[in-house]
């Protein structure tokens, strides 16, 4: 089992991380990666970037617990979670998640689960910096609904 968790203000290069991730694999037949990138368009103004606040060590502990859940639930060979903090400009990568398993379904589901965790439960606060000012962004109802899916299927 190969697990990497990194929460820092350093830039994320998804191609390099994916390359590194694949080099750690020996038995996987399915590799899934997700990159979250800062969009240029806000509600009604151009977005210049985001500011991400975290609360150490609560943020790290929470991500570690979610990773533990993913490892218990799906047969993964490797898993990476990278998340940026601080100022992140439009077009830059804010989050990178990669999962690998013998078969694709586990890799897809584990990556999806981790992203839903990061969107709605991970201890971050997110501020959008636009041409007209700054506004704190909290999860949308859709984000919470997405995250609920995993609790429902857990009771099946």
């Amino acid at each position: 089992m190969s697990v990497l968790i990194n929460i820092s203000d350093q830039p994320i290069s998804a191609p390099e991380l994916l390359n590194d991730f694949e080099s750690r694999l020996s038995s996987s037949g399915g590799v899934v990666s997700f990159s979250g990138v800062v969009r240029p368009d806000g509600k009604d103004t151009r977005v210049l970037g985001l500011f991400l606040q975290s609360y150490s060590p609560m943020t790290e502990n929470g991500v570690e617990a979610a990773v533990e859940q993913a490892l218990n639930r799906w047969p993964l060979e490797a898993l990476s979670v990278y998340h940026r903090t601080g100022k992140i400009r439009t077009g830059e990568t804010i989050v990178f998640v990669a999962t690998a398993s013998r078969h694709r379904r586990a890799a897809f589901e584990a990556a999806d689960f981790l992203m839903d965790y990061l969107k709605t439960e991970a201890v971050f606060w997110k501020k959008e910096i636009t041409e007209t000012g700054e506004v704190w962004i909290e999860p949308r109802e859709q984000d919470y609904q997405d995250n609920q899916r995993w609790q429902k299927s857990e009771t099946n």
């Binding site: 609360y55 804010i94 704190w136 962004i137």
Partner: protein, 82 residues
């Protein structure tokens, strides 16, 4: 002394991300601190919102949690990254 942390949109109201205070003697539980912050910053009910959670020494607690051994108290509005 206790460090009080105001995360996310709360720091826009408090105008500071953190402060160190001697807790007044009538503040013994987390719920008291909500009312204290609410009055102190005239926050229009923000500190009383149930979705604003309180953490004491790095652990999320409920409103009945005592603050006797609190070194660090955080007000946490809804979280989310990605």
């Amino acid at each position: 002394m206790a460090d009080i942390l105001y995360f996310g949109r709360l720091s826009d109201i408090t105008r500071k991300p953190t402060e160190s205070i001697d807790l007044p003697s009538d503040i013994s539980h987390a719920r008291d601190l909500r009312s204290w912050a609410e009055a102190r910053f005239q926050a229009a009910g923000v500190f009383l919102e149930p979705t604003v959670r309180i953490a004491v020494n790095g652990e999320i607690v409920d409103d009945a949690h005592p603050l006797a051994n609190a070194n660090e108290i955080a007000f946490m509005p809804p979280v989310g990254g990605g």
